[in-house]
Point group: C2
């Protein structure tokens, strides 16, 4: 956890193993001993984040994947999309996951081996599920660019609240995105998802 915080806040190079060891109440030499070095610790953080995300999003994703083959009507499909977006929002906006978000955003800008572990784990699964749902909605191949890009924009709306965190706080006059603020965000996200889904549906063959 100390390493997640430090790497997320400062990046790989600027974070110091000395500070991480001290924050964790551990000895500096324990890092090379247990993780094989600073880089090993960094990858261990990526794996821990991937596991944590899968743990939190697992139930929602499992339900979608399980219910997918049973032919669903559009209302049910839309509800699944809403659940997925909302699940991501609630997972990524919790105070405990702020450090995850910083770490992931860094890896997005400058991907390393750690990004592969994050992408091939939780991210790909979420994107695949969302594309499947949107494809059914639009009556089109989920692998089509338009569907995939729409999926990115839906998840992107959520990500933006972390990526543009300081701008959100400044604009809204908030000091944090707590439970109360989260309710307002959720209402707007739901409205947007519904609007975009409806537009997709209108274009369906």
């Amino acid at each position: 956890m100390a390493a997640t915080e430090a790497f997320g806040r400062l990046g790989f190079e600027a974070a110091s193993t000395r500070a991480i060891a001290e924050a964790a109440g551990a000895n500096l030499a324990a890092i090379p001993y247990h993780f094989g070095g600073k880089e090993g610790l960094y990858l261990a953080v990526a794996d821990a984040i991937a596991a944590g995300m899968l743990e939190r999003m697992g139930p929602v994703l499992g339900a979608i994947e399980a219910g997918f083959n049973a032919a669903q009507d559009r209302a049910t499909t839309l509800a699944m999309v809403q659940t997925l977006v909302e699940g991501l929002a609630f997972t990524m906006m919790r105070p405990e996951t702020a450090a995850w978000a910083r770490f992931i955003l860094r890896e997005q800008a400058e991907p390393t081996e750690a990004f592969t572990r994050l992408y091939e784990g939780p991210m790909k699964r979420m994107l695949t599920a969302l594309c499947g749902l949107l494809g059914r909605f639009a009556g089109r191949d989920p692998a089509k660019s338009e569907i995939k890009l729409t999926a990115m924009t839906l998840l992107g709306q959520v990500i933006a609240f972390r990526a543009a965190h300081a701008a959100v706080l400044a604009t809204m006059g908030w000091t944090e995105i707590g439970p109360g603020e989260m309710q307002e965000v959720r209402a707007v996200l739901q409205a947007n998802v519904a609007a975009i889904a409806q537009a997709l549906e209108r274009k369906a063959p």
Copy 2:
């Protein structure tokens, strides 16, 4: 430019003035001499980015601000929203501004004095213009939370393509977001903006 690239890629602490000076073909000692030190150089980068964004977004923002008081119909207002979102997308997705995006995203996650300069300059002006347009669209006070949050999600969709850059490339099978890819992104952004605006309009008093 060398400093923008280095600070954007590595962050303030990890970027070295040695590497920046070498990349710029300048002498190491020139940095303390001309900018007062590493921190002064960092703030100079922030100011340069703010000025560059204002330069690129200025015409679009000026037109919106000038035309705002002349009572506009909804079609014109929607067109202005589309122009603003598209302008931001084209500004922020150009290869030349990739370094800006990395710098800004870092400041969003961990704001310093540099963020204030970015926010009070171009960001606030864009957000104010967009809230004004959306407020008129929805027939509501532009200062209402719902309007401001909707504005954040609209700009957030654009930001997401930079913030989740690696995930976008991996999902789309792209190697970069060039002009061709940009056209596809633009079409989806336009559709989303139209859908969200229409939903706002339906809720208008």
